[in-house]
Amino acid sequence: MSIDLQTVKKIASLSRISVTDAEAEAMVPELNNILGWVEQLGEVDVTGVEPMTAVIPNQQRLRDDVVTDGDVRDKVLANAPQAEHGFFAVPKVIE
């Protein structure tokens, strides 16, 4: 399957990356090349194969349900582009 300009714009929107029309048009052949190449995986017989999520067998650990950190508000906010009154500040969300 190949993707068109509309699809590229939709992917960009889902990715929250703004693109100009010219950028989106340039991406159509680029992304199609890559997707066309990865589609060769479709020819592999995977009957009965479970999708792999963890490469090295490992047990999920549980820890005691206790507070292990906190009281670091200023550190958390230290790199925020805009912090006010101890909060992250963003543009108005509700019109």
Binding site: V8, L35, Q40, V44, P51, K75
Partner: protein, 494 residues
């Protein structure tokens, strides 16, 4: 007197302890080399004062007769993907320009605790996405190597750990950290004539490393010798409760157990790594490598990894998928850049911030990842890739029933000129054809230099081992290192 910057990590550690030189003398020598090598663009931030502070602490501890850390007196470079408290950490992106972590990554913290000093933060491909170090927002890293015959074309140091490889080959640091998602330690090591090991997935904590593809990312050392890699890896490894995929296992004494005697070991030669059209010089080096391991006492057997050809396309679904999820955090709210056009709402701010903050390759991968995870395509792409990944891992399991380790080339070519492969993302991706399979299977793998090609550029060999068997990987690499006798170094032009 020996130039201190020609010494290995082991030489520096031992010479410092023996009183042959002070830690400060070592740090000053490397600081001077770093300051004089701007043309390589290997560092994003230089931290000579950090190197001197650690050196002074080591000298003081030694004078006071205190117990010295394993890396006391050794300055190193830190890939700018590791969060370092109080020192800008960018992942070579505009997005994180000015980001100064308020915490230290586990791996870098372990290195500092062992007495190592930081020479600076090393350049890399943006968010570790690239194989030539041409995607950094802070400019290309240049390899110290040049082709012979007066050809002064700027060559790629490999990627993504290209700052690390360039700096080590140019004697700006004796060792450095790298990270490897699909070959980002091994391919740059091969391009610059140094060594580097990606340990078993889970050996090194990922906590505090800027995430790219979490099921693949592993930290590892890069240095000029196998022994130096063993020394650093011991310090970098170990269980960390802050990383849910960290392995709760003791760290073996890899350095103490180094041995290049391979009697009783079987080396598998996977036929799929010799595709038609493989560079004859790479192929010839591989044949020499086989003889070297045989000379070290190993038995050589042919093995097959039938799904090898599917490893790269599998990787280029799984890695972008995970990246699209991991990089969702860059939203212009909590850290990093914010781009807020006039009158923009929250959604517009996200989109503008990410458009301005990410480079083209990062955007490309986020969008591929978003597409393969989107409704209607998830099973055809992502689930299928996860299943093929299982088959690739099973190929290795079956091969390891017949042998103890695998020998392959590290990269399909020597270094290429900057700009040569940038126009075609697919051509660039093919650089990782020999390194990606071990990444998908989470296996330890190491690159060691094997010699120079006819243009005078380094080419390398790769050892892949069983999960958790870094010792055999290091030992076989040592056997190669001893027989290759690789002493070539780039002529200083910078």
């Amino acid at each position: 007197m020996t130039d201190l910057t020609d010494l290995t990590v082991a030489d520096i550690r031992d010479g410092f302890r023996a009183g042959d030189f002070s830690a400060r003398e070592v740090a000053e020598a490397f600081n001077a080399n770093v300051a004089a090598a701007k043309a390589l663009n290997a560092f994003i931030v230089e931290t000579p004062e950090k190197a001197l502070d650690a050196a002074d602490a080591a000298d003081k501890a030694k004078a006071a007769g205190e117990t010295l850390g394993q890396l006391a007196g050794v300055p190193i470079g830190m890939k700018d993907l590791f969060c370092t408290q109080g020192v800008q950490t960018t992942a070579a992106s505009h997005m994180l320009e000015g980001f100064v972590p308020t915490y230290e990554s586990t791996v870098s913290g372990k290195l500092w605790a062992a007495g190592a000093g930081m020479l600076g933060k090393l350049n890399l491909d943006q968010f570790a996405m690239g194989s030539s170090n041409e995607t950094s927002y802070y400019g290309n890293v240049i390899s110290p190597w040049r082709r012979g015959g007066g050809d002064n074309a700027a060559l790629a140091p490999g990627g993504s750990s290209g700052g690390s490889s360039s700096a080590i080959a140019a004697r700006l640091c004796p060792a450095a950290t790298g990270t490897d998602t699909g070959g980002s330690i091994r391919q740059p090591a091969a391009f610059t004539g140094i060594s580097g090991i990606k340990p078993t997935y889970g050996r090194c904590s990922r906590w505090g490393i800027v995430a790219f593809a979490s099921s693949l990312d592993q930290a590892g050392p890069m240095a000029r010798t196998v022994r130096d890699n063993a020394i650093l890896l011991e310090v970098m490894s170990g269980f960390d409760p802050k990383d849910s995929t960290s392995l709760d296992l003791p760290v073996p004494q890899w350095e103490a157990n180094l041995s290049s005697d391979l009697k009783g070991k079987k080396v598998g030669i996977p036929k799929e790594y010799r595709p038609e059209g493989l560079d004859p010089e790479i192929s010839a080096l591989w044949d020499r490598g086989i003889e070297w391991l045989r000379d070290a006492g190993a038995e050589v057997v042919d093995v097959s990894l039938p799904h090898t050809q599917y490893a790269l396309p599998t990787y280029y679904i799984i890695a972008p998928a995970e990246a699209s999820s991991n990089l969702a955090r860059y939203d212009g709210v909590r850290y990093g850049q914010r781009d807020l056009p006039d009158g923009a709402g929250l959604q517009d701010m996200y989109a503008a911030t990410r458009a301005a903050g990410f480079g083209p390759e990062v955007k490309r991968r986020i969008m591929i990842g978003t597409y393969v995870l989107s409704a209607g395509f998830y099973d055809a792409y992502y689930t299928q890739a996860q299943k093929v990944r299982a088959l690739i891992a099973r190929d290795f399991e079956l091969a390891f029933e017949k042998c103890d380790l695998l020998l392959t080339p590290t990269a399909p070519s020597a270094s290429f000129a900057l700009g040569e492969k940038q126009a075609d993302p697919l051509a660039m991706y093919l650089n990782d054809v020999f390194t990606v399979p071990a990444s998908l299977a989470g296996l330890p793998a190491m690159a060691v230099p094997g010699g120079l090609d006819s243009a005078g550029l380094p080419i390398g060999l790769q050892i892949i081992g069983k999960a958790l068997d870094e010792q055999t990987v290091l030992n076989a690499s040592l056997a190669l290192e001893e027989r290759a006798g690789f002493t070539a170094r780039p002529d200083k032009w910078w």
